[in-house]
Each structure stands twice: as C-alpha cells, then as structure tokens.
C-alpha cells in the first residue's frame, strides 16, 4: 500500500509532463469508446426496432397452429377454438396477451383491380393487447368487435385497389369444402405499417370470417405475447403440454431471419469493439512506448537508486491505467449524454421506405443499457492496461548501467 501512495502521485505527475501527448491519447481512447458505445446503442435500437416491426404486427412472442399449418397455410389446416387447458396457460401470468385468429389466403377485388392478400378474422379487443395494427389505423377506424363485418386494409393495398373508406370490396377465398367463398366487405379503416405488410394483410371480425369460410368456431392460429421474452421456453413447453398435437413455436422459429438479424446485431457490436480497440491499442502502445524510450535514463536512475523493476513496471502501468481510465470516463460520459439526448427517438423518415429494407421502423429509440455500458467500458480499460504491459515491461527491463552510460 505504501508503494501505491508513492507511485500514484508519481504516475499522475508523469502523465502531465507532456500534456499534449496525454491529451491526444486521452482523445483517442475517449473517441474510440464513445463510438463503440453509441454505435452499440444505435445497433441495439435498430435490432429492437426491426424485431418489433416484424413481431408486433402479427407474430407476437410465439404462435400455436394446427400441426400442418406452417406447411400449408390454408383454412384446411385449422384447429378448434382454444379449450380450457390451453386457455389456462394463455391466461396465466407469463402471457401478457393473446389472440386467436382465422387466417387464409384470399383475393380482394375492387371495381378496378383484383389483388392477392391474406384475410385475417380477428378479435379486436384481444388484438389491441398484442398487435400494433389497431393502434396504427391511419384513416377510419379499427374493427369494433368480433362480429364486425367491415374490413381494415393496408393503406398501400387500398391505393393499389383504387378503393377507399366506405367502399365495398369483394373477398374471395376457399372455404372449408374447397369451394369458392365470396363476401362483400365495406372498407372501414386503413392501417399503416411496412409496405409489405400493408399489401399483405386485411382484417375483419373473426365471426364474419368463420361464417364466410364455413368453419364454425375453428381458428387458424393463436398468437401470444409474453411479458418477458426470457420466459419463452417455459411458456412454449407449458402450451405444448396443454395442447397436445398442436404446433407451438416461439418467434425465433417463426421468423428465423429476424432472429438471425437480432443475434447478428449483438455480435456486430463486439466486432466493432475489436476493430476500434485495435486502433486504440496502436495509439496507446505508440504513445507509451515513445514516453518510455524518452525516459530510459530516468528508469535507469530509479533502478540505480534501488527501485525494484516490479515497481517500475507498476509505475508505468499505473500511468497507463490512469490515462486510459480518464479517456474511458470521458468517452462513456459523452456516450451517455448522446444516448440520453436521442432517447426521444432518432427519426429515420429521411430514409423514407428505404429503412424497411433493413426491417427497421421509422423511428429508432436508443436505450441506455447500464450493464452493457459498464461491461464495454471496463473491457476497453482492462484491455488498454493489458497492452500497456509492453511499454511497461520495456521500462522495467532496462538495465541501469547500460541506459545510463548510453546517450547524453
């Protein structure tokens, strides 16, 4: 401890013997860490946004289907309305909300165009708990109840059909017997989502859809949203037990691309960390080596006066630790300030529909993840000190006789 009280002031004073060099190294560390942290927050926001954009429309945290539904997504692969055992799990505390739906490929016809889409018969009250579509109605209204015979179309689909609020469209689909079922629906609302989703999904009340398709009270899928994604395996297992013979899958199995994107984003943060760290390390090693070479006579003298090489090593390491520590603090502080400043959302509207190609929504919400911030900062600091071992070793390894006779 006595060593540290001697070394710390020495290290601190040595830092400021060449302030310009110290400031430059500080800047390298601070800017590097700042970029890692802000980039990580943005990537995380992007990953969450793209995941939510994919999941919050229909998928939810997971879904229950009839066994062959995912291979053949028609009304032929349907299941009975959820029974008491399934409901018991779905109404349990781990599930935030759930909705059963009728879902079938269909054709929507207006006076001018006939376009393919998917018809979804939904329970509006349940959908509100798990889907963003009821909230994202941009014109008109969402469905009022299970028996609502109106239709809510994607804004872009309505435009392509040359139809609008209040007009009739005809929906044609295969019914339970394989015959062509058709029904007239009045457009009561338009929703906005990604263009792909807008073109794909059309919503009506579950009862008119069941009546049109002649399937009684059967449904095509149950979508559930979990309060905490970490509980997914347990809930999936419980649902499988409660609904034997049904196909229960978490979102990672239903939307593998989204899941892959999500884990890639996490990996990418660390790839970026390594790239930035290598650059920072070059800067740190270079500065510290220069400093050490400049001071070989000083280290020789210290050793000649009786300072142990271990203490010389500790002194130089302490210098680096202080230097990098200051840089890390400055970088982290700036990153926190930046993320907090943008926590209201980064508007990507300037990218227009381009952002959709990356699967993200129009506004990103960077979020402070204290654990990740602390971990990355500590990692950068520790790795920085680790690379500083090299110049420190050089300093400690210099032989007093040699360096003092050498030069000047």
């Amino acid at each position: 401890m006595g060593g540290l009280s001697l070394l710390a002031p020495m290290a601190w004073r040595n830092l400021w013997r060449n302030p310009r060099r110290t400031w430059i190294t500080l800047a390298v560390v601070a800017v590097g860490l700042y970029s890692i942290l802000v980039f990580a927050a943005l990537l995380d926001a992007w990953a969450r946004s793209s995941r939510d954009a994919a999941l919050d429309v229909l998928i939810g945290s997971g879904q229950v289907h009839a066994p062959r539904y995912l291979d053949d997504q028609t009304i032929a692969q349907r299941m009975a309305a959820p029974g008491a055992r399934l409901r018991a799990v779905l109404d349990g505390p781990s599930v935030e909300g759930w909705a059963d739906r009728v879902r079938t490929p269909a054709v929507i016809q207006s006076e001018y165009k006939t376009l393919p889409a998917e018809l979804l018969g939904v329970r509006p009250a349940r959908e509100r708990a798990i889907s963003v579509v009821p909230r994202d109605v941009s014109a008109g209204r969402y469905l009022a109840g299970d028996a609502d015979g109106g239709i809510v179309l994607g804004a872009h689909l309505a435009k392509r059909l040359k139809t609008r609020l209040g007009k009739r469209v005809i929906v044609m689909a295969q019914d339970a017997t394989g015959a062509l079922a058709q029904r007239s629906f009045r457009v009561v609302g338009l929703y906005s989502a990604s263009q792909e989703d807008e073109d794909r999904f059309a919503f009506t009340g579950i009862e008119p859809a069941q009546a049109m398709l002649g399937i009684g009270t059967d449904v095509s899928e149950i979508s559930f949203k979990l309060a905490d994604d970490a509980g997914a395996p347990a809930t999936v297992a419980a649902l499988k037990a409660a609904g034997p013979g049904l196909d229960v899958r978490p979102w990672t199995a239903l939307a593998p691309l989204t899941a892959a994107m999500n884990s890639f984003m996490e990996a990418f943060v660390y790839i970026w960390l390594w790239i930035m760290f290598v650059l920072m390390a070059i800067g740190i090693v270079n500065t510290q080596l220069m400093a050490v070479f400049e001071r070989v006579r000083e280290f020789g003298l210290l050793q000649a006066l009786g300072m142990r090489p271990r203490l010389v090593l500790a002194e130089v390491l302490l210098e680096s630790a202080l230097l990098i520590g200051l840089g890390v603090l400055a970088g982290a502080a700036a990153a926190v300030a930046t993320v907090l400043a943008f926590s209201g959302g980064v508007d990507l509207h300037f990218l227009a529909r381009g952002a959709e190609f990356f699967g993200a929504g129009h506004v990103l919400y960077p979020r402070l993840a204290p654990a990740q911030f602390a971990a990355v900062s500590a990692l950068v600091w520790a790795l920085g000190v680790l690379v500083a071992l090299w110049p420190a070793g050089k300093a400690a390894g210099s032989s007093p006789a040699e360096v003092m006779s050498h030069a000047q």
Partner: protein, 255 residues
C-alpha cells in the same frame, strides 16, 4: 269531370296490369325485361359461332370460337382459330370454371385469383363469363326512362347491387329493347363513375329471333382499347347431349 278522370285512371292501371301479365315485351317490369334479354341472348340452350376482335392502340387480333350454353349455369367455349389458340377451351358449371390448354394438355380449375384476369387478352374477364347473370340475382332493378329506338321502345334500367351482395360495381345501367335485345350495359364504380361499357352495334335476325349480332366492350378510361364480339351463326333451344358439359369433353372434344 273529376269522376271521369278517376275512371280513366283506373282503366289505365288495369290495362297496364293486363299487359304486364301478357309478357315482358309489353310491360314495364325491369326485372322481367332483363330476364327476357338474357333469355333472348342465350335461349334455353344455344350453339353459336362467335368471332372476337381484340383491339389495342398498337395491334389488333381476331379469334374464332364455338360456344354452347344450357340454362343459366352451363357453358362451354372452344376456340377454333387462329391455329395458335385452337383447342383452348373454357367450361363453366355453376360457380366453377375450368380452362383447358391443349399445349399443356392440362385442365386448370380457375382459382379465385384468376377470375378477374383477362379472358385470352380481351376486355372481358373470366368473371364476366362466370358472373354474367349476377345482374339478375344480386341486383335490384328499376326503370329510369324509356326511348324509341328503331321503332321499338327501349327501357333504361338501373341495377343497384343488393345490400351485402358480392358485387364490386356501384351500379349497372342497362338499355333493353322491348323485344328483348340488349342495347347497352354500362358498369359504374361505387362513386358512380363509368368504368366500362358494352354496346350493341348491330342487330339482326339470328336463329329465328332479333339478336345483338355485334357487341363491343370498351373500358372508359382507355380510349383505343376495345373488344368486339360478333355472333356469326347460332341455333337456339337445341337439344345438347349431357356429355357436352363435362371435363372429359373439355379435354377431348367429341362431335
């Protein structure tokens, strides 16, 4: 004076009632007039040779076909010329439609998604073939006016879809002559804007009845596009073998 006019009014009403019973040609019942027009067009059964001309601003082509119909819900159309289209056939039984392509040697049951597609590139869709009589069943009819055309009385009939009927149109406006010849059928969107119109351009005797020999379908918003259908010969109320309207006959024509 008052008494007299009331009596004559009563007489007129009685007369009108008697005429309505006498037949659609004399009466002003919109639904009956439309039904008469469809019956005149098709008969109980029919066999006809039809030439279709598809006109576009850049090109024009002609097709020849044979058609057989029986009642409201059976129809078979087979193309005979040009060689490229020869053998292509469409069979309609009730609400189901099959198309046969000889080059693929395959019959396809028309999926819903194809119903609105153009029928061999013309301005008619498969829906027009399959749903032609919807105007009788899915609409309410009202006479909006009369005119005298070529010495006949022509009735303008407005057909409005019944509530909930699976119909995209806002309304149809039909002009029918008192002898059952359809003169014009116009399709309006739900804003009552004209979308397309089919007009009868030549009327003549055919198969022992006055018949719309030439029909032309024109989309309203695309000038220079039209499809003309000319019936060159036809027999009505003929006996047709039951085997005619079958999928096997669709693929392997006999007789």
């Amino acid at each position: 004076m008052f008494l007299v006019s009331r009596r004559s009014g009563l007489a007129a009403a009685l007369l009108a009632g008697a005429l309505a019973i006498a037949g659609p040609a004399a009466a002003a019942d919109a639904t009956a007039l439309l039904k008469a027009a469809f019956d005149n067009w098709r008969g109980k059964s029919s066999r006809a040779t039809i030439e279709m001309t598809i006109h576009r601003p850049a090109w024009e082509r002609g097709l020849t076909m044979q058609s057989w119909t029986e009642g409201d819900d059976k129809a078979l159309v087979r193309f005979t010329a040009p060689a490229k289209e020869r053998g292509n056939a469409t069979l309609k039984l009730g609400h189901e439609t099959w198309i046969y392509n000889p080059k693929l040697n395959q019959t396809i049951k028309l999926p819903a998604s194809m119903l609105a597609q153009s029928w061999l590139g013309s301005d008619f869709s498969y829906n027009d073939l399959a749903k032609a009589e919807d105007i009788l069943t899915d609409y309410t009819h009202r006479i909006t006016g009369t005119a005298t055309v070529d010495g006949h009385t022509a009735y303008d009939i407005e057909a409005v879809p019944k509530p909930g009927a699976p119909v995209v149109w806002g309304k149809q406006a039909v002009r029918v002559r008192d002898d059952g010849v359809m003169l014009r059928e116009a399709f309006y969107d739900q804003d009552m804007k004209l979308v397309r119109v089919m007009t009868t351009e030549k009327i003549g005797p055919l198969g022992g009845r006055p018949y719309p020999l030439v029909l032309v379908m024109r989309p309203a918003d695309e000038p220079g596009r039209w499809t003309r259908i000319e019936t060159t010969s036809a027999q009505f109320d003929v006996a047709l073998p039951a085997s005619l309207f079958t999928r096997s006959n669709l693929e392997n024509p006999r007789g």
